[in-house]
């Protein structure tokens, strides 16, 4: 069994790390404080090829594998979790499904500019009453000639306000239940597509999380992704991939907080020695390092399975579950290592702690991951 990255994957890690350290880390605290979407660095991530990593070169992408994607995500998340989620949503939840299910015409029009960083995309599945219960969709799309007329509301859309297009999950045939859900790609600026609200959040404050309102919004049939009724299949396959991205983000948050804790443990002195000499601190650091390594291996395994075109849904759920729980624990302990200084903003770890929490919630809560894992263990029973 190989657990070493290829030379190419190492180069991608080095590039992502250098970019993150030089361009992202210096602004991370400020954009968190001001809840400012980092347009400039997002565009630069596009120019570097990080926004559509796995998309083939024919559509402007780099044709990188999922392992490379995990490696790059971890490095970006180590510096700033907001940048990482913007990256993850654009890669896994917008570009991948548009590539996988889009027609040639749709790929040219609605994929290429989103791979290069000219535009970014988002994924609008959650509704006020449909979170974990994602099939309970009420947004309605009624066919009228060569258009659909869309009415409804979406919430918690990551990158919602900044996006130029959204995958919007709608009921096109209520009689079919969740078999009647379809995906429309709705472009910003379409009349009747409103963004009434951007949420104030605990963490990931530089990523905008928006509410969408559709009022008699007319969307061309040419913007439907895949056939009618394919919505849940597209959602589930996108979320399987998305979970690898979020696992990598959680891993990066944990690893970033851990690195800060190690540096502090070397520097800060108490009772005449660096606090890293105290066994209780060593204990926390050793536990953090072990859990982070385990999370990294689980995440890389899920990505490697995907690259080998083998089933990876359960592995992705395990990786996402374990990495996000590790992120919460590691950031909590990183603050503990910092003591009172960890609780104030001067020392950064409090941001990692606030950013970590969402990884246990979005793209499937920890509880939903356990459900997914248990179902795969028990089969249909």
């Amino acid at each position: 069994m190989h657990v070493e990255l290829t030379e190419e994957q190492e180069m991608i890690r080095a590039m992502a790390r250098e970019f993150a350290d030089k361009e992202v880390r210096p602004i991370a605290a400020e954009i968190d404080r001001d809840a400012r979407f980092p347009r400039e660095t997002v565009r630069r991530m596009g120019a570097l090829g990080l926004l559509g990593m796995t998309i083939p070169p024919a559509y402007g992408g780099s044709g990188a594998d999922a392992v490379s994607y995990v490696v790059a995500m971890e490095e970006i998340a180590k510096a700033c979790a907001s940048h990482a989620v913007i990256l993850s949503v654009n890669n896994s939840l917008y570009c991948e499904p548009v590539y996988k299910y889009g027609s040639e015409e749709q790929r040219q029009r609605l994929l290429v500019p989103f791979v290069t960083g000219e535009k970014i995309g988002c994924f609008a599945l959650t509704e006020p009453q449909a979170g974990s219960d994602a099939t309970n969709q009420t947004t309605l799309a009624v066919r009228a000639g060569d258009h659909y007329v869309v009415n409804g509301r979406k919430v918690f859309v990551t990158s919602g306000r900044e996006s130029s297009a959204a995958l919007v999950f709608c009921q096109t045939d209520r009689g079919q239940g969740h078999g009647g859900i379809s995906v429309l790609i709705i472009e910003s600026g379409t009349p009747g597509f409103l963004v009434p609200k951007v949420e104030e959040k605990l963490g990931l404050r530089a990523s905008d999380t928006a509410e969408f309102l559709f009022e008699d919004c007319r969307v061309p049939v040419a913007n439907r992704l895949g056939d009618e009724g394919l919505g849940i299949k597209i959602a589930m396959s996108s979320l399987d991939s998305g979970r690898i991205g979020i696992a990598a983000q959680a891993l990066g948050i944990a690893a970033g907080a851990y690195e800060l804790a190690v540096a502090y443990a070397r520097e800060r002195r108490s009772f005449g020695v660096p606090i890293g000499q105290h066994q209780m601190v060593q204990w926390m650091l050793a536990d953090m390092a072990t859990a982070i390594d385990a999370a990294r291996l689980l995440t890389l395994r899920a990505a490697a399975l995907k690259d080998a075109k083998k089933p990876f849904g359960t592995a992705a759920a395990m990786a996402k579950l374990f990495a996000s729980e590790t992120a919460m624990k590691a950031t909590t302990d990183a603050i503990q290592v910092h003591g009172g200084y960890g609780y104030i903003k001067d020392f950064q770890v409090e941001r990692y702690f606030r950013d970590a929490k969402i990884t246990q919630i979005y793209e499937g809560t920890s509880q939903i991951q356990k459900l997914v894992i248990a179902r795969s263990l028990l089969g249909g029973a």
Partner: protein, 259 residues
């Protein structure tokens, strides 16, 4: 315009350098290797010249063991067209003159119009190669370059070099050797596409014999490496503030001789 960029692979700047047991080299285990930062300015400038002129070829060259391929591959990922790796155990103890002779031989074979070096490698800081290579080739050389502009006809170059308090602008005929100073440009990150494409580009392996040279024993060799003595710890002057200030001023004047 063909541009040759000789690069050196050096330990990462964050490396905790330890002297090896024989006291003639550093401990190489566990070191992360990078392209010497001044050489990155050289690669970047070569790529910019090619882009500005809309044509040309950038060739990265390095002399060293197998690991040097990683550094060459990074140059290819940044955008260099191909690379040459002078990889021969005969060069294991090469001093700067031996290395300069090998690079001069590569340059003669490749016949570029320009060879851009970094002004020095950040490991041993010799800074000797650009001048030695230029001397062997009979080319002009310009060090500490902060800006350059090649004439439209490609026959000459105007280059500004950093001097105390200002810029000294030279004109030189081509071919010539430049040695890049920090500030010449801001090196690009390799793009993902560049990284993915790098493995398809050629890295040609050359032995001394391919260059028609037989390395002579080095005329310069390291006699001994010594670590710097550890910095003495700081001193806290306690007690009554007036007394402490008096003591501080005395220590600064009489012991540190700083005031």
């Amino acid at each position: 315009m063909k541009i040759l960029v000789p690069i050196k692979q050096v330990p990462d700047t964050a490396t905790q350098v330890r002297v090896a047991a024989d006291a003639r080299a550093i401990e190489s285990a566990g070191i992360t290797w990078i392209i010497s930062p001044y050489d990155e300015f050289a690669v970047e400038e070569a790529l910019r010249i090619k882009e500005k002129r809309g044509q040309g070829e950038v060739v990265a060259v390095s002399l060293g063991p197998d690991r040097v391929k990683e550094a060459l591959r990074s140059c290819l990922a940044m955008g260099a067209d191909r690379a040459i790796h002078v990889n021969d155990p005969a060069f294991a103890d090469a001093d700067t003159l031996t290395t300069a002779r090998a690079l001069a031989a590569v340059i003669k074979q490749e016949a570029p119009q320009l060879a851009i070096f970094g002004r020095q490698a950040i490991d041993d800081d010799m800074g000797a190669l650009p001048a030695q290579v230029a001397e062997l080739l009979g080319w002009p050389s310009l060090y500490w370059i902060m800006e350059e502009a090649i004439a439209a006809d490609g026959a000459s170059i105007r280059a500004g070099r950093q001097v105390e308090g200002g810029l000294e602008v030279f004109e030189a005929s081509l071919p010539c050797v430049l040695a890049a100073q920090k500030g010449l440009n801001e090196p690009r990150y390799p793009t993902l596409k560049g990284i993915m494409g790098a493995k398809k580009k050629e890295i040609k392996d050359l032995k001394a014999a391919d260059l028609g040279i037989a390395p002579e024993p080095p005329q310069l060799s390291v006699a001994r490496l010594e670590s710097l003595p550890p910095r003495p710890p700081g001193r806290v002057i306690g007690g009554d503030v007036h007394e402490a200030v008096r003591e501080l001023v005395r220590a600064l004047r009489e012991e540190a001789k700083a005031i």
